[in-house]
Structures are given as C-alpha cells and as structure tokens.
Symmetry: C2
Subunit: 195 residues, 2 copies
Amino acid sequence: MTEISAKKQRIYQEAARLFQDRGYAATSMRAIAGAVDLEVSSLYSHIRSKEELLQEICFRTAGQFMDAMQAIRRKWDNPVRQLEEIIRFHTRLALQDPTSATVFSDEWKHLGPEEVKSFVSMRRNYEQQFLEILVQGQRAGLIRDLPRHWIMHTIISGLAWLYRTQHPVPPDEQEHLIQTLLAMNLHGIIKSQNV
Amino acid sequence: MTEISAKKQRIYQEAARLFQDRGYAATSMRAIAGAVDLEVSSLYSHIRSKEELLQEICFRTAGQFMDAMQAIRRKWDNPVRQLEEIIRFHTRLALQDPTSATVFSDEWKHLGPEEVKSFVSMRRNYEQQFLEILVQGQRAGLIRDLPRHWIMHTIISGLAWLYRTQHPVPPDEQEHLIQTLLAMNLHGIIKSQNV
DNA sequence: GTCTATAACTTGATAGAC
DNA sequence: GTCTATCAAGTTATAGAC
C-alpha cells in the first residue's frame, strides 16, 4: 500500500507541468517550490531529489505504454486491429495527459545513466512488439511490404504532435480525431486509389 | 560579405552537437570550450553569448524551410506534387543535417522572448502555406476531405523521427526512404484498397 | 586570440530551530 | 512539515596581462 499524500501529488503535477514548459534542465527546484507555495527545503520532506520527480513521470508513462501493448496483443489477434488499438491508445493518452506524454518523450535523456539504460531497454521492447505486429500483418498480406522500421517510426512519430502542440482537441472531437488518424495512417490522404 | 572564420564555424558545429545531445540548458560554455579545445573566456572572442549560438542554428534552419516552401510553390502548381516536394525536402534536410534539425525543432523555446516571438511567427507562416496547399488539393478533388490541421501536423510530425532517431539512413537508401515516406503519407500502409 | 583570475549569480541539497 | 540560513559547486560573462 503506497500511500501518496495530496501534497506529494501536487508537487509531481506542478513539476511535470514545468518540465513540459521549460524542460527538465531549465526547471529549478525553486521554481517547483514556488508553484506549490513552499520553500525549496520543504520539498525535500516529500521527495528525495529533483531527478526522482523525472524518474516517476518517465517510468509511470513508460509502464502505461507497455501495459497497453500487452493488453492489446492479448485481446485481438488481427494485426491491423492491433495497430488500430495502438493508435487509439496513443491518442487517448496524449489528449488525456499531454504533460506526462511530453516529459516522457522529450526529457528521459536527463535521467541518470542507470535509469537511461532501463528506459531505453523498455522502449526497445515496445518497438520490438510493434515490429512483430507488422511482420504478422505483412505475412498475412494485410500490410504493404514496406520496411517495418520506417513504418513504425512514421506512425509513432506522426502521433507526437497530439501532445507537443498546444491545441488540445476537445473530448467530443476525440473519436473524430481517432478516425482521421486511422484513415491517414492506414489509407493515406490521396483520394484516387489507382495504386 | 560576412566572413566566417574556420574556428567560429567549428564552435557553432560543436555547440549544435552538444545542444542536440544534452539540450541547450544542460550544455555549459565549459563543455563547448572543451569540445573546441579552448578556455571558456576565449570563446567570447568569437561569439557574443551562448544564446547567440542557439539563435544562429534555429533561424538558419528556419530560413531553409521558408526558402524551400517558397521555391516549391513557385516551381509546381499541382498541390499533390507540392506536398511530395515538401516531404522530399524535410527528408533530405533531416538526413543531411540531423543536428541542426533537432536543435531547430526542440530547443527554440530557450530563445529569448523576442526571438521566440519571431520564431513562432515564421513557423505560423510556414504552416499557413502548408494549409493552403491542402485547401487547393481538396478543392481539386485530389486530397481527402479530412481536417487540414490534422493532416498537416501528422505529416510534419511523422517525419521528425528522421532526425530524432540515431539511425542515419545511408545516402544510397535515401531515395528508397523518400519513396516509402511518400507511399505511406499519400496511400497509407494497408494493401486492400476497398475504400 | 588566448590565457588566468574573478565577478556576480544560480544551482541542488542539507542542518537545525520550531 | 515548514521554515531560515547556509554550503559547495556550477553558471555565464568580463577584465586585463601577454
């Protein structure tokens, strides 16, 4: 039972917002303290260090992606459907918690050497599973025989604007957005289908 | 005729590499000085400040994108061909100078307030021109009637992995990569064309 | 142009009173 | 848990000798 005090949660939340806006390295403990109306030294009653804040955000979000990937592969066996669900998950997470998504995506390099190793290893695992889905889709003749690494990076990277740009899509447009993203990634944007 | 000494160029180059690896805020003048085998104070014989280094990289790359956009719109009038050329340019620049592309894309927020304003204004101009191409393509019935902002962000964001990931694609694979990116963006990855 | 020395300031983190 | 006070180290940048 890990009890997390309300104040501790507040600190994590404000830190994440500052990391998103200014980046980890440009965010001082004084800035975080100011955001939660405390003196710097008081922060250390709740957290061990600045880096601990970054670790929590990065690995919590990494865990969410790993869990989603595993759940999707268990629930469906059609690789195209699995891809659809992955795009769905990325989209929902990006819209629901763009702050954590940005910090997870852009600030992990400021983790300590050990943590970077662990983080990169998790990401490699995630990408490996993504590639396996593409292999299955290509073997089944459902997905074009394009280089899988390029497909994967283009899809994942193509979703990153959802958290990086300021415009949060309102909740009632979320399903429309997802349908559009699926259409673009799966069928492209060209009308005439003379391929 | 602005003459740029070899040493000054070396400083810019090493600074860009360090900004790419560690981020602007986490890169010290000492690190830059060390990379070019000088003492910190000697740097100031060649440059005015740390931020000047960032400014040069960001605005030089921004200028390249603006120039390319203008040249493409002058040279072709088919909007789909214009999109193709834009994707081509992004790809070539990302492979040829991934360091500048990364700093341009990720570190502009550390510019001073005035420079940020100018930078964002250039980007808005670029995006406006991109959207106009999509409008023309949709009016001509060539491009699907999907929300144009979402199309634009997905395409641009989907190319960002080209400079963010470590794997530089070897020069002899560049044309294959471009063809694949065009195929994915324009026609998607799904084989069956029952749309 | 490059150096040593240093100014002026900010950084993350700690000690100890309350 | 929160504070004041403080530390040691690091930051960008400058002054002035050579």
